[in-house]
Amino acid sequence: METVKIKQKARIIEKELLAPDIYRMSFETTLCNEAVPGQFILVYPPDSSKLLGRPICITDVSEAGQSGSGCRKVKLSIVFRVSGGGTREIAACDKGDALYIEGPLGHGYPVDDDIISGRKIVLLGGGLGAPSLLFLAKKLTDKAAVILGYRDSSLNHFLADDFKALGHDTLIATDDGSEGIRGNVLEAMEKAGIQADLIYACGPMPMLSAVKKYAEGHKIPAYISLEEHMACGVGVCLGCVVKTTEKDPHSNVSNARICTEGPVFDVKDVEI
């Protein structure tokens, strides 16, 4: 039986502190050269007593030449926040170090012509949701409106300049009004008078619930990227499920696996 290797050691080629506790890290790897926006990887902490990979979405994939074996090498970037012991260890690694990564995993944002053509596309990123949307923003050929929500100005509107550099109209919102529009991303969209025909969103669960309500109220399509604690990342452990509106064909109950059927879902299909 032909089997594939999806977990490999990858060398860190860049590391950058974007905001307090928020890092961009880039790996050189032959994995993920077919990755699409919205997919994620597992990053394994260097301490072997931490056995599980940390699910982190792919922020960018770009060419990095050929490897010795003829496989196409890519520069794979992620952005993550230090949120516990595992991510702290990953963040402590430096350029030149190598970590095990596994991926690409899951299903990404659907961007077929029949979904996007002729529509006003709005990307809504709350907090650590922005990194998942940056790769999508890079692939969109039409100009989109991007609204990035942050807690306050101390987060240095991380990644906002990257969206701007891609030519998208990018707005910043903060919960306390210390930078950009005061309010959450949906409030900012209304205040800025942006009429969305199609929303792609990633962020905290209350924000995604609000996006679902908004999209259903305005009868527009919306795709959201979810996160949950995972063990395997490939659909085996059933740790990372989300309630679905219809019975899921794989599980035969109203639960879909975020790592496999997701992490991106049509808002219509999930109960959040």
């Binding site: 089997t3 599980l52 604690h229 395997c232 599980s251 109950v253």
Partner: protein, 308 residues
């Protein structure tokens, strides 16, 4: 016989059935092999043990269902499964394409539910053995209560055995008891053809910054290398208490762990949580066990089983 055709090997007999090697997977850590078949050749395994299946589909517990702990993890999946109908139509059909014996793990809320599933599988040629899960700590009703009372355990065993026809019945035991030897004897007295242990240890984790339980279910089952020494001790105690064979499991992550478990008394071993971090772990473990036999000039794995 190993791959070079030399005269030593890993093959074992368990409950009258022959297995090319003693390595299977712990129920719930390998699904039905569909996902991992992309990363590891399922035919390498001595047997595949499938995730617990019940009479009707089960939704499982709310999330978060998993959390990591040092050298392990705690889970409270709650035996989410698609039910026996889908399992037989899809999962067993998938596995029948492979040359690997299938051990089906059976769960239920009541003795009648266990019986219903056993009855469905008793005549199915695609099934080699049945493993009865009387030890899941994450299901409120049934499961573990049958595994912590010796009389109940004996009764469930006898009732499953009565419906299993010629399929061997293996009772999967919980470590959350005072005397594992007593539970092993209870399974044996009920007519079990074998026992498997250990299931997970009931555990808890608290997120001190959120001031909340890490799992929605509050408690869950601890697994992974952290529990291996406990599992070795319990396999040793249980295997010395009964004559029926034992499938040993609990934190096996390397070939050395597997050999250790066999020396403690296990005839077969199951690889569990490590599958989640190393999708091809079973391949390295089987290869490593072959190498152990060669390196130690041991002609047959039977020479290490229960030697202590």
């Amino acid at each position: 016989m190993d791959t070079q055709g030399r005269g030593y090997g890993l093959s074992v007999d368990f409950a009258g059935h022959h297995f090319k090697n003693p390595v299977t997977v712990a129920s719930g850590t390998f699904g039905s092999g569909m996902e991992y078949s992309r990363f590891v050749d399922l035919n390498l395994l001595g047997a595949i043990t499938t995730k617990g299946v019940s009479d009707k589909p089960w939704e499982g517990n709310p999330t978060p269902r998993v959390t990591e702990t040092p050298s392990g993890m705690i889970n409270a999946i709650g035996l989410q499964n698609p039910g026996i109908d889908v399992f037989m139509e899809r999962d067993l059909k998938f596995l029948s394409e492979y040359d690997v014996p299938v051990i089906v793990n059976v769960c239920g809320h009541s003795i009648e539910e266990y019986e219903a599933v056993v009855e469905r599988l008793a005549d199915d040629d695609r099934v080699e053995m049945l493993e009865i899960n009387v030890s899941c700590p994450n299901v409120k009703q049934g499961a573990i209560q049958f595994g912590t009372d010796p009389d109940m355990l004996s009764e469930v065993t006898a009732r499953c055995k009565a419906r299993a026809k010629d399929k061997p019945v293996i009772m999967k035991l919980t470590p959350n008891v005072t005397s594992i030897s007593e539970m092993a004897r209870a399974a044996e007295s009920g007519g079990a053809d074998g026992i498997s242990l250990i299931n997970t240890l009931t555990a808890m984790k608290i997120d001190i910054y959120k001031r909340k339980f890490a799992l929605a279910n509050k408690t869950g089952g601890l697994s992974g290398p952290a529990i291996h020494p406990i599992a070795v001790r319990m396999v040793y105690e249980a295997s010395h208490a009964v004559k029926i064979p034992v499938i040993g499991m609990g934190g096996i992550a390397t070939a050395e762990d597997a050999i250790e478990m066999m020396m403690a008394g296990a005839t077969m071993v199951a690889v569990g949580m490590i599958n989640f971090s190393k999708p091809d772990a079973v391949r390295d473990i089987i290869t490593g066990m072959e190498k152990y036999l060669t390196d130690t000039k041991t002609s047959d794995i039977w020479e290490v089983i229960g030697i202590l």
